[in-house]
Each structure stands twice: as structure tokens, then as C-alpha cells.
Symmetry: C2
Subunit: 225 residues, 2 copies
Amino acid sequence: MASSTLAPGAGIRDEVATLKRERTISAAVDLFYERGYENTTLDAVAERLGVTKPFIYAHFHSKADLLTEICTRGIASALDAINSILGLEAGPTGKLEELGRRFTTAVLQSQMHIAIFAREEKNLLPVEFDRISTMRRDFDRKLVALLEDGVAAGEFRIPDPQMMALAIGGMVSWAYVWYRPNGRLPLPDVAGEMSRLILTMVGAKPVSPTRAKRAAPAKLKPFGR
Amino acid sequence: MASSTLAPGAGIRDEVATLKRERTISAAVDLFYERGYENTTLDAVAERLGVTKPFIYAHFHSKADLLTEICTRGIASALDAINSILGLEAGPTGKLEELGRRFTTAVLQSQMHIAIFAREEKNLLPVEFDRISTMRRDFDRKLVALLEDGVAAGEFRIPDPQMMALAIGGMVSWAYVWYRPNGRLPLPDVAGEMSRLILTMVGAKPVSPTRAKRAAPAKLKPFGR
DNA sequence: CCTACCGATCGGTAGG
DNA sequence: CCTACCGATCGGTAGG
């Protein structure tokens, strides 16, 4: 029952273990992102932490285990985004608008994790790859459902919701390729523009609550964090 | 002057050399795509060809050289698509519609090459990576120019053409992730739908030649090949 | 273009 | 959790 993640009332021992795991993952993310998984030795990860390789093996079963953790966090952030909007007090248009913003934000905030997953999936154990693929499909299924809701409510015009979900998902996911944290476009601008584009793609009227069952507020709460 | 690609009047010697190169690349594409670059040994590539490793070294300098050739062909196919529409007898809307179709077709026909490039760029030599990145930027620049033409002609409504180009490029490029050659959606349908979506995104009227300088035909010639 | 081999790299672990 | 090491893998090539 002694978990390795932040548990309420966890002793110092657990907090230290968690800290060590987090620092290790963080160093691995930087190096895997920069050089690629196969071109990064565990000795290099350890060196960046100022320790030696057995330190890592005290907290992870294998190199692939580290990769699994990184990739899982990447898609989990996107999945959290869609789960978080499902319960909003808004119609399909309001939900989709907010999803566009949160999904894009998740991708950009987890840019390195997403990139590593996209590039290194062949280095995951088959079991883990399958588990993560299921999460991805879960995301797609929920997005398709939201699009179909919007069609049923008369708010969206979409010939093929399945394909629309893939188009939207791709447009946003691909941002991990070109986004630069200190580039020309600030993260919130990208997120806002993606949101706007998505509404255009599905044929929704951006602002006015058309004929939503509950009136969708023009601005939802400003993305607290 | 004796090139290793198909030259007119090339002797049997050159044709054989070309054939061997092509077969080698093809085997490498299959294996790199399926297992990943680092998880594929040159012995495995040779085995698939029914030869041994030195056969490969007679035609390529190194394993990375093979990868370079594959990645180059991947983006070259996308670059060809945009170059091929620039000279069309059509206004911005007609050109963009046809680009959507040809670009998507190129991505899907070169699906494995594109996937390998996206995943394995860290395994390219820096020089080659830079050269290929330049090709990619060339594509983006030309797409931005086309979008700006459309804005200037009053056919498109685009707040930020640069970002629009990235959004369009991402939506289409990402298709390498989900497209399956014998899946539910036939390639021409995907290409047509992407084309339609792109026109919607830029705010163009899909069919009628609005106020294009030259009237854009509703259907351009059906994609001869 | 094959046989045979080298040489370096690196994930993982024994022992303490 | 460090020191020290093993064992396997594999790109590349010498020699013919």
C-alpha cells in the first residue's frame, strides 16, 4: 500500500523516493528528446543527475521502463484535457472550444513527452505499447462522441466525424514539431487560434450559443492553473 | 557523369546498379518502418534481400546513408506536390484545393518514408538533417506564400498565414499515423476531405470562383499519374 | 560480394 | 547506491 507517488501522509522516505524518480524522469526526458532514446545511455542520464547507473536501477526496472513512464505521461495529459471538459456546463460548441484550448495547451506543455512517444513507440514493450494505444483510442472515441453530439444538436456540420476527429487531433498534436517555448507565438495564442480553427472546421458559430440546450458562455473560466 | 539514377541511355550496368539500390531501399523502408531504425540490423536488411551485409556496403556508405535516402524521398514527395501546383492555371482557391489533394496523396503514398523521417531524424548526420530541414522550410514558405496570395486576392480570410500553414501541414502530415492502406477510408476520399477541410479553414468558398482573377474550374484535371 | 572477424558500445548486475 | 565488470549486439571492413 506504500505507493511511490505522492500519497497523503506519506513519510519522508516516500517523498524522497518520489523526488528521486521525478528528477530521473526529468533528466531522461531532456536527453531522450534532445538525442533520441537509443542514442542516450543510462550512464549519461546518471551523469546529469550526478549519480551512477545503479541509482537509476533502484527506481526503475529498465531503460524501457523509464520510456514507458514518459510516454504514459504524454498521452495522459491529452486524455486529461478531454476528460476535464466532458462535465462542463456548456453545449457541444462551448465544450469543443474549450477542448481546443486545453488539448493544445496539454500538447505544448508536454511537448517533449509527446515528441518522445511519437518517435520512440517502437522501443516500448508490446504490452505497454498496447496499453498506451488504448489510451489514445479512448481520446479519439471521446472526441468523436463530442462531435456527434454537436451534429445531433444541430451545432456542427460534419460529413465524417471519425475522420474529423483524426484531422483535429493531427493538427493539434503536430504542434509538438514546430512549437518553440520562446518563439514568435506565445502558447495561449496558439491554443486560442487552434480552438478557433477547430470550430471553423466543424462549421460551428464561434461565439453565439446558436441553439445549444444550455446557453454556452462566450468565455469559459480562464483556464485556471 | 555516369549517374546511379535512371539516366537515358544508361547501360545495363547502371540499370542493374539502380535496381539493386532500389531493392535495398525498399527492404530497409519496410524494416525501419516496422521495427525502427536502431532495432533493424543491416544483417536483417541483407537477409531479406537474400544477400549478405557487404552487398549493402557496395551501394551505400553507411547505415545512416540509407536512412538519409529514405528521409529525403519522404519530404521530396511533399515538396513535389507543392511545386507541381504553383504553375497551374487557377486562382489561389483552385490551387489550394488541388494542393490539398496532391499533398495528402503524397503523404499517404510515401507513408512509410514520412513516418521514418518523423521518427528517426535524430539518427541523421547533422549535415543531412540540415539539408532536409531546408526542404521542409521550403515547403512551408511556399504554402505561406500561396495563403498570402489568397488573402491579397480577397479569397481567403486568415489571421496568421504562418500559423495557418503549420496547422494545415500538421493536419495532413499526421495522416501517416492513422492511415491504413486497406482501411475504412480510401486514399482519394481522405485526400478529397482534407482538401475540403483546408478550404474551410482558410475561409474560401469551395466551388465558385468568387472573385479570382482567372476563373478557377470547379474540377481541375483529375490528378494524372 | 561472400566469409570471417574485429572493436566499440552499453544495458544490466554482482558484490559489497 | 558505488565500483567494477560481464555479455551480447552490431556497424563496419580485411582479405580474397
